[in-house]
């Protein structure tokens, strides 16, 4: 027998059931979202949230760099520069990222900032035209030993970014030490940071020479 048309009573009953179901689903969705560790729907929300949780800024975005597994933002708030690393654990949502910042001191020609496997160098000497990063990973294997990276162009203004992804065994660049070298436009070395004590005093390493 064919299904009859819905009467007014039937429609009202269906509405009441749907309303109850709607309220239950809404409460469940609210609970799931509130307890989620990956709550953001957009990259912009994740950037804003990460800054808030890190008690930073909000800063002005100077640059954005995209990599295979994450995105790095370079932010500025007054005299401080920050690297904010964002990632998306699943295709839909973004999580709170990692942010670290440094307050620039113009008395230093090069100010470094590390964020996991990215290193930012703020150059306060306008003569610096190339920056070289020398870092060390203790241990054998393909990642062990000295690594030398050079940048001939800043990411933006006086900010130079060194991505060191894929070249770390564990931890961050700073774990086993690094030094920075600044060269002028003619390739002459004009600045070099202090050699990490652990390279000379403990491991007696032969440091790669400047160009």
């Amino acid at each position: 027998m064919a299904k009859g048309p819905a009467t007014l009573t039937t429609r009202r009953r269906r509405l009441a059931v749907d309303l109850l179901l709607f309220l239950v689903l809404l409460a469940l969705l609210a609970f799931l979202f509130l307890s989620s560790e990956n709550p953001y729907l957009t990259e912009k929300q994740a950037l804003k949230g990460t800054q808030a949780v890190s008690l930073y800024g909000p800063g002005k975005t100077l640059a954005r760099a995209e990599y295979d597994s994450h995105i790095v933002y370079l932010l500025q708030d007054g005299n401080s520069y920050a690297l904010c690393r964002l990632s998306r654990p699943d295709p839909l949502f973004w999580s709170n990222g990692y942010l670290d910042a440094v307050t620039n001191d113009p008395d230093y020609p090069m100010m470094p900032l590390i964020n996991i496997d990215s290193l930012l160098v703020i150059c306060n000497d306008p003569e610096i035209a190339q920056v070289e990063l020398v870092y060390y990973i203790y241990g054998g294997g393909k990642d062990g030993g000295f690594h030398v990276l050079r940048q001939t162009e800043p990411l933006v203004e006086n900010c130079w970014l060194f991505p060191c992804h894929g070249s770390l065994a564990t931890g961050t660049i700073d774990d086993d030490g690094f030094l920075l070298r600044g060269y002028d436009a003619n390739g002459a070395l004009i600045h070099e940071t202090a050699v990490p004590e652990v390279w000379t005093d403990f491991w007696d390493l032969t440091i790669p020479e400047a160009r």
């Binding site: 048309p5 819905a6 429609r11 509405l15 799931l32 509130l34 008690l55 709170n96």
Partner: protein
């Protein structure tokens, strides 16, 4: 199979019913009635043809306009469309939840099955459970509040302890925020303190960078419990000057003061 006359009759009736989604159901019901009536007529009057029986059945149903208008009264388009769209919304919401759960299944299961931390529901329990009574000098309420949107920082309970002659200060810090996704702000590594007699107590980061043999420092616990709008931490300041009568916690890692919270200290030299 419905005849042409039945289809024509139902079509005319439905033309007066504004809510079109019900047309099929109305047609089906009317057709069923018409067919039953036709079959009954064919049984009762053996000389009747199929077409004659159908015409008689249609005639017996009455005026299609009158019938259509009557049906229109009980099939409100407003209620009908609202009910259809609302049901679609409910299905859509269900789909979102299913998708969300699929991507967050481990977290979802953990959240649904984890027990709340009893210490977080009553921070004063922390001192009861963590501090030996022999070491406790005094415990009191501080009611220190600092606001830096979106966060409100409150120190409600302070405990002063004595460990081998050294004065330790422990505070239960409550942080509230209206946005649950901003819980657990990252300040613990860089929170430092100073007292009112000129001493500075370094943050954990400073302490590790300077000299780990320095005994005075600020330690911040991991978050106690994890609620959407509130997080609790225990702040510990070690080797506090006995002459100090107040302690100010500060966070200014990026050049701007984002937290400055002062608590009175009791049980020191000033209190005898």
């Amino acid at each position: 199979m419905p005849s042409n006359s039945f289809e024509s009759f139902c079509g005319r009736v439905c033309s007066f019913v504004r809510f079109s989604p019900d047309h099929d159901a109305i047609t089906a019901e009317l057709t069923a009635h018409l067919e039953d009536h036709r079959d009954a007529l064919l049984e009762l009057r053996s000389g009747l043809t199929q077409e004659e029986a159908e015409e008689a059945a249609v005639k017996a149903m009455g005026d299609p306009e009158e019938l259509g208008r009557a049906l229109n009264e009980s099939h409100s388009p407003l209620l009908g469309w609202f009910q259809i769209w609302f049901q679609a919304v409910v299905w859509f919401l269900s789909a979102i939840i299913v998708i969300f759960c699929l991507f967050h299944l481990p977290d979802t299961l953990e959240n649904l099955t984890s027990k709340p931390d009893s210490v977080s529901s009553d921070p004063a329990l922390y001192f009861e459970r963590q501090v030996y009574p022999d070491d406790l000098v005094t415990q009191y309420e501080a009611n220190a509040v600092y606001q830096d949107p979106p966060y409100i920082y409150t120190i409600e309970q302070v405990a002063i302890e004595n460990y081998s002659g050294a004065r330790y200060v422990e505070c239960i810090l409550q942080i509230t925020q209206p946005n649950p996704w901003l819980r657990c702000p990252a300040f613990g590594y860089d929170l430092w303190a100073e007292d009112d007699v000129g001493n500075r107590y370094p943050s954990t980061r400073e302490w590790r960078a300077l000299d780990e043999t320095i005994y005075s420092k600020v330690k911040v616990s991991t978050p106690m419990g994890d609620f959407p709008f509130t997080t609790h931490y225990c702040l510990t300041v070690t080797n506090v000057d006995p002459a100090a009568t107040q302690l100010t916690f500060r966070f200014d890692r990026y050049g701007e003061i984002r937290l400055s919270l002062t608590v009175p200290l009791k049980g020191g030299q000033a209190d005898g």
